[in-house]
């Protein structure tokens, strides 16, 4: 199982039955493929849809049904479509139960950076900042370290923030942290990964939960 799949599978366990979920691009969206049986979530797409379905076959598509990635979707029974202003009432008004977003960096204070690497990568924040502030629970998903092995779970983010103090849970390929009032708590480790290894790969300070578990993937 590669890093991305580990993260996606672990994200999928965050979902409660009936919850309204908004998934960011990449691993969070991949997670939709791994949602446990018996759990049904209501997916929101910020361009203006709830309870949408997956891609149609060519010819069965509508030019008026797409997700926030511009990809064709279906609108099954029970789904709804509305304008962008209402969609962000949903997001900012606290009506999304959880959002899972990819991150470039996270830190001990629940800060998250995911929209900008100055001078290199400046796509814009899209709807990410709204989700980070508006969703009831924010889960950040990222590779634990960069290609050089440097921790992306930091004492303090170095990149421009997307939102301050909003992340409640951090999911990486080797660990799951809760962001508590007094700092990070390690609550899960990936199979075969020791607390020592996580400590070695993590810049942020953290405590280890007495009930630490192994990720079930």
């Amino acid at each position: 199982m590669n890093q991305r799949e580990i993260i996606a599978r672990r994200i999928a366990q965050e979902f409660e039955n009936g919850a309204v979920i908004n998934l960011g691009f990449g691993m969070p969206t991949m997670a939709a493929n791994y949602i446990p049986e018996g759990i049904e979530v209501v997916l929101q797409t910020e361009n203006g849809g709830l309870m949408f379905g997956g891609a149609p076959k060519k010819g069965e598509h509508s030019a008026d049904m797409a997700n926030a990635g511009g990809e064709p979707i279906t609108m099954p029974k029970g789904s709804s479509a509305f304008d962008l202003a209402f969609s962000f009432c949903i997001i900012r008004g606290g009506h999304v139960d959880a959002t899972v977003l990819g991150a470039l960096e996270v830190d001990e204070n629940g800060n998250i950076a995911n929209w900008k690497i100055p001078g290199k990568f400046v796509p814009g924040m899209g709807g990410g900042m709204d989700l980070l502030v508006g969703a009831k629970k924010v889960v950040a998903a990222l590779a634990h370290t960069d290609k050089e092995g440097n921790s992306k779970v930091l004492k303090s983010c170095t990149l421009p923030l997307s939102a301050a103090g909003v992340v409640k849970r951090i999911i990486t390929d080797i660990a799951v942290f809760d962001v508590a009032a007094d700092g990070l708590v390690l609550v899960e480790r990936a199979p075969g990964v020791s607390v020592e290894e996580i400590t070695a790969k993590t810049e942020a300070a953290f405590t280890v939960s007495p009930e630490i578990k192994e990720m079930v993937l």
């Binding site: 049904m65 609108m75 962008l84 924040m125 899209g126 990410g128 900042m129 709204d130």
Partner: protein, 239 residues
């Protein structure tokens, strides 16, 4: 009430250096024919207000305007899908004003609704504060943003009746309803122009009082084919 016009007549409403809102989200619900016309006529130095840039990869919908270097300033939430715009931004030839997406649409709503500012916690503690005013209301901190309006809004609906009442479908509504309230001149591109009465009172997404001009766009069939090709080429369909 609206007037039905030809694409050439649309030309009399547009000019270089105008501030123009264009509806749509990555091309879906975008006024594709008017955009083609704008690209062909080479209007220059536009301030383009659109929620995101072109369909991923660029060159489609408003990506035709950036590819042509017709845009001087872009106001929106995301440009990462359009390589031409990203390049022009990095080179400093295009100015970009980034807004959180909810703030973007709420600013346009405020412009159309006569509200004085948008008061939101989104962006607190980030660089977004640089374009906003920090305020405190009722014991909490917020950012205040100015309402947003345009000289011309070009929106896209599925149908218009001859009074200009617009009917939208699916997620292609997106920014169109809101932009139609926030410009001096509103042009609606539609798949089909129908008789008054064919759009039921509760199915009107934008009442005709907001729409100044209606222009025939691609038909629904043509759009289905166009997006069929686009999504097929980009491998977006279920196999």
């Amino acid at each position: 009430m609206a007037k039905i016009i030809s694409m050439e007549e649309v030309g009399t409403l547009l000019h270089d250096r105008m501030t123009v809102m264009v509806g749509g989200f990555l091309g879906v619900g975008a006024p594709l024919k008017v955009i083609d016309f704008m690209a062909e006529k080479q209007y220059k130095d536009l301030t383009l207000i659109s929620v995101v840039a072109s369909y991923p990869g660029g060159g489609f919908d408003i990506g035709k305007l950036t590819a042509n270097k017709q845009v001087a300033k872009f106001i929106g939430a995301h440009i990462g899908t359009d390589p031409a715009l990203v390049k022009q931004y990095n080179e400093g030839t295009v100015e970009v004003e980034f807004n959180p997406m909810g703030t973007f649409i709420e600013r346009i709503r405020a412009g159309g609704a006569g509200l004085g500012a948008v008061i939101t916690p989104v962006g607190l503690g980030t660089e977004v504060e640089e374009n906003a005013q920090r305020v405190t209301f009722f014991g909490k901190d917020y950012l205040a943003f100015a309402p947003l309006k345009a000289e011309v809004a070009i929106v896209k609906a599925v149908k218009a009746d001859k009074l200009g009442n617009l009917f939208y479908e699916g997620t292609s509504i997106n920014t169109n309803t809101t932009m139609a309230t926030a410009a001096d001149i509103v042009i609606a591109e539609v798949d089909e122009i129908v008789e008054v009465g064919e759009i039921a009172p509760n199915s009107v997404g934008t009442p005709g009082i907001f729409v100044d001009y209606i222009v025939q766009g691609f038909t629904s069939e043509e759009r289905k084919e166009l997006f069929g090709e686009l999504w097929d080429k980009n491998n977006k369909f279920k196999k």
